[in-house]
Amino acid sequence: MNVWLLLIGMGIVTYAIRLSLIVLIGRVDVPPLIQKALRFVPPAVLSAIIFPELLRPGGALDLSLGNVRLLAGVLAAGVAWRTKNVLLTIAVGMVALWVLQAVIPH
């Protein structure tokens, strides 16, 4: 497939998904159950992205103390919980990862 056709295909699919319910929900009544469910979208989706990044860093489950991403991620989560500061969370998490990578053999 031509690379430009591929890009346009990827773009149309992505845009259609993002537009779909913005357009649709303005027109039809949303059932109460769905309305209640929507507030769980951010915690559920974001956690579903985060957990595998921390717990399966090399593509396999790693619960050992040698899993530096898990340790740095938990520390960053603590910072985010206490401060709600995005910059500080990213900074502490990255520095922790670098320090742990230097200290812990992997």
């Binding site: 591929l6 992505t14 303005g26 915690p43 559920a44 974001l46 579903a48 985060i50 969370t89």
Partner: protein
């Protein structure tokens, strides 16, 4: 107070710290796209035509491995399905807008713009008629940063050593975004169960595990909420006793 301008500026400001995590990620995409053998033009254009970080990562990797185009488009669809949940979630806040606004804001509906915007909408009790300018501000801040950072990655090429682990900034950005929305037990249950399911289902093809986990987490959140007597109920029961 809630003028178009103030909403727009507030959206940009809320997005600013996120950009620290997004910038390295955009650069890594640029490096990855070059490594996949994409020419500079298409590699750069993907950031505006597709404008979806994780789908661009997966797309570049699939192009490198010579995957057929239809499979790549299908994979993009699955990887981005979570945006349908964002679309549903943000829709009530945009329902009053013109078609042109909806079409523009849908284009800007990324993980990072959605997360700061929905947090803002859920926190402000008063409904500003100009609140869509907040999403526009957050979305444009992210869009322009994404374009610049992927361009930097493309031109730096392979000069970012992988030992810097800059890809970790994405997980950290999402951690910073998710903790503030864990306000009560049902949302904590939703987050925890979605995370566990995502780890267990990570082996599913086309990153389907993410979608399974998201729907599972939402269902658990609803279930915990239904089991939990609301504060009004509790008060009633106390009165009876």
């Amino acid at each position: 107070m809630h003028s178009r301008r103030s909403e727009f500026v507030a959206g940009v400001k809320a997005e600013l710290p996120i950009l620290l995590g997004v910038t390295p990620f955009g650069m890594i995409y640029g490096v990855l796209a070059m490594g996949a053998g994409l020419p500079v033009g298409p590699a750069m254009a993907m950031s505006s035509i597709v404008f979806a970080g994780s789908a661009q990562f997966v797309g570049a990797q699939l192009i490198r491995s010579g995957t057929p185009g239809m499979v790549i488009v299908f994979t993009t669809f699955i990887v981005n399905l979570r945006h349908m949940l964002y679309s549903a979630s943000i829709a009530p806040h945009l329902a009053h807008l013109s078609r042109r606004w909806k079409w523009l804001l849908a284009y800007l509906l990324t993980d990072e713009a959605y997360a700061v915007t929905i947090t803002h909408y859920n926190q402000t009790a008063a409904d500003s008629p100009n609140k869509h300018w907040y999403l526009l501000g957050a979305g444009l801040a992210l869009w322009s940063t994404w374009q610049v950072s992927t361009a930097v990655g493309i031109f730096l090429g392979a000069q970012v050593p992988s030992s810097w682990s800059l890809d970790f900034t994405l997980a950290l950005t999402f951690i910073a975004l998710v903790l503030p929305v864990l306000r009560d037990r049902p949302s904590m249950a939703a987050a925890l169960s979605a995370g566990v399911i995502a780890v267990l289902a990570a082996g599913l093809p086309y990153k389907l595990g993410l979608m399974v986990a998201a729907i599972g987490g939402i269902a658990i959140g609803l279930w915990v909420e239904a089991r939990q007597p609301s504060s009004a109920h509790r008060r009633q029961r106390a009165d009876i006793q």
